[in-house]
């Protein structure tokens, strides 16, 4: 095996793109993280042609509520209309392209463009145009509402896409729905706590996405301080943890981890919620979630989620002797080959007891987000990779994703999709499939 691939000619043709990965060998070219031409194609071919997460329904409860978000590098408004429906608009005036909304969130029935006063309502309709008469019939207001994305919702998670030919969200998620149920569909519902923590990091967006798609291996080293300081209460008893790495297709991925001592953990959720879970989930799902302490995954392309009950001691804000956990959703928005915006939200099940809420919130704030003691080190990895791959030789490297590549699918896995099990259930193939799906999309003209 060669360390370095051939240099791929620029600009990219389909063959060059295909040469970015060697799926059978589990190898990915380092160029995929730094090449500006590849990034330009990602903008055009991934971020206008997939279902992108934009907000959660609990963030826009009332008619007129809206939040400003991004779909890749496009700014959008996620708005709840007077009709109760959720819409997603390109945050650009149809007249001459000025942004029409520059706040993070609010409630309004009117978006007025600051240049010439074109006014839209919260349904995206163009309602007022100064000097409209002077257009003498050339301007059809009905055809010049805000440009609207297709919207679909799963468990309150609002997704949007620009692609009118794309499959439905349900088909797009496919087996991933079964996994998302475990996090967002296990009770009456989950809701967002507060605003997202946001930051701009000097890393390629794919590193965050792939890490949550299936990189369990890094925890031991990247977050090793926690073990060294004795901060884990759920110690491995009876050997290595088990569980599944799930390939739901379409580039998605998820990991489910249970300790060797298969107890009842329900992802560290408070006992008060267990009956609700048992009422809501299927028997197969209950069988899976009961011993679970970690659930992580990524919805292609850039929406990651995690619930972890690994953080329990008092230092992290939890009560003495009780495991605490939190559920977080996070998104890696591309800003360039070497830059992304990270956003991270905390979620709670609606009926979570208030004391546990506070424990969970404290824990989350201390370990995740831009200042989180765990997330700091993830970001450092992704930053050092992005910055370190700049050189001409580093740009020719083949990166390794072949751990467990020969594994056969698990036969015990009760859900849809393909799952692999092991102790621990950490294999590279989900990441390999993530990059494979990226390249597949990049090659579609």
């Amino acid at each position: 095996m060669q360390a370095f691939g051939r240099k791929v000619a620029c600009p990219m043709d389909t063959k060059s793109l295909n040469n970015l990965i060697k799926p059978k060998d589990g190898l990915v070219s380092s160029r995929i993280f730094t090449d500006p031409e590849i990034y330009r194609l990602e903008r055009e071919r991934i971020f206008t042609r997939t279902w992108l997460y934009v907000a959660h329904e609990s963030e826009i409860r009332q008619p007129g509520d809206f939040v400003s978000r991004s779909m890749g590098e496009d700014s959008v408004i996620v708005s709840r209309g007077r009709d109760g429906n959720t819409r997603v608009f390109l945050n650009v005036c149809r007249h001459r392209g000025r942004k029409i909304c520059s706040e993070d969130l609010g409630n309004t029935s009117k978006f007025i463009c600051g240049y010439h006063g074109w006014t839209y309502n919260e349904l995206g309709e163009l309602t007022a145009v100064p000097f409209f008469d002077a257009y003498q019939g050339r301007l059809d207001k009905n055809k010049n509402g805000l440009h609207q994305a297709r919207v679909d919702i799963y468990h309150g998670l609002i997704f949007a896409t620009w692609d009118t030919g794309l499959e439905s969200l349900s088909d797009y998620l496919g087996p991933m729905k079964w996994i998302l149920d475990l996090a967002f569909g296990r009770t009456e519902g989950t809701e967002v706590v507060g605003p997202p923590i946001r930051w701009v990091a000097d890393t390629n967006w794919k590193l965050g996405a792939a890490n949550f798609t299936g990189d369990g291996v890094h925890v031991l080293t990247t977050h090793g301080f926690s073990t060294q300081l004795g901060l884990h209460q759920l110690k491995a008893s009876g050997g290595r943890p088990g569980g599944y790495a799930v390939d739901p297709g379409n580039g998605h991925g998820a990991s489910l981890v249970s300790p060797a001592s298969k107890g009842e953990y329900y992802l560290g959720l408070p006992k008060e919620l267990w009956p609700e879970l048992e009422r809501t989930l299927t028997k197969e799902q209950i069988g899976i979630i009961k011993p679970l302490i970690i659930l992580a995954g990524n919805v292609f392309p850039n929406l990651s989620f995690l619930q972890t009950a690994g953080h329990s001691p008092k230092e992290w804000g939890g009560p003495e002797g009780m495991p605490i956990s939190f559920l977080t959703l996070r998104q890696w928005q591309p800003l360039g080959p070497e830059s992304m915006e990270g956003l991270t939200w905390l979620f709670m099940d609606k009926n979570t007891p208030s004391q546990w809420r506070e424990y969970s919130r404290q824990c989350y704030q201390r370990v995740f987000g831009v200042a989180g003691t765990f997330e700091q080190d993830d970001l450092e990895n992704w930053g050092q990779i992005t910055q370190g791959l700049r050189g001409p030789m580093a740009g020719r490297l083949w990166l390794h994703y072949e751990l467990g590549l020969d594994l056969k699918p698990s036969k015990e896995w009760p859900g849809p999709g393909t799952a692999y099990s092991g102790q621990p259930p950490w294999f590279d193939q989900l990441e390999s499939l993530f990059y494979g799906h990226c390249v597949k999309l990049l090659m579609q003209e």
Binding site: E103, G106, A201, T222, Q228, L229, Q365, D377
Partner: protein, 172 residues
Amino acid sequence: METSDLIFPSDERYSEVLYFLYREAELLDNRCFTEWLDLLAEDIHYRMPVPITRGRNLEYSDEMDIFSDNLASLKVRVDKLRTDFAWADTPPSRTRHMISNLRLKVTDKPDELQSISSVLVYSNRFSQPDADLFSAERFDLLRRVNGQWLLAQRTVHLDQSVVGARHITVFF
């Protein structure tokens, strides 16, 4: 800034607090984090609420913090730096806390003062020709314990709604 509550620079307590803040900055910039912990009260609450732009209002969330620490969690942050896994701090940052605009006020309690100060944090790592710059206003509660000032509370209002850095490892 209600004038009546103010403690003027000519007041000895102003000098003491100024030096407290300078000493704190010096300890942080010299990476004497254990000594820094000694400046904190047992009940320290040290937080940076998430900035929000709601309409034309610049708010700071009371539901979510960028960090929210007590003494125990701050000790973990400091202890982490001495483990073999302080990756986000490898290499360490060269930081400089530039303190200005100290406004000092009395509180209801005679041994507690409220301090508001501006801080510009310069932070540089690796071979960066440029640095991360953080600008913030800090609302502190200072308590005199056994003749020594301790930091009992700090709320940091960061002057940007999206943190412009790979991560935050610096203390504010």
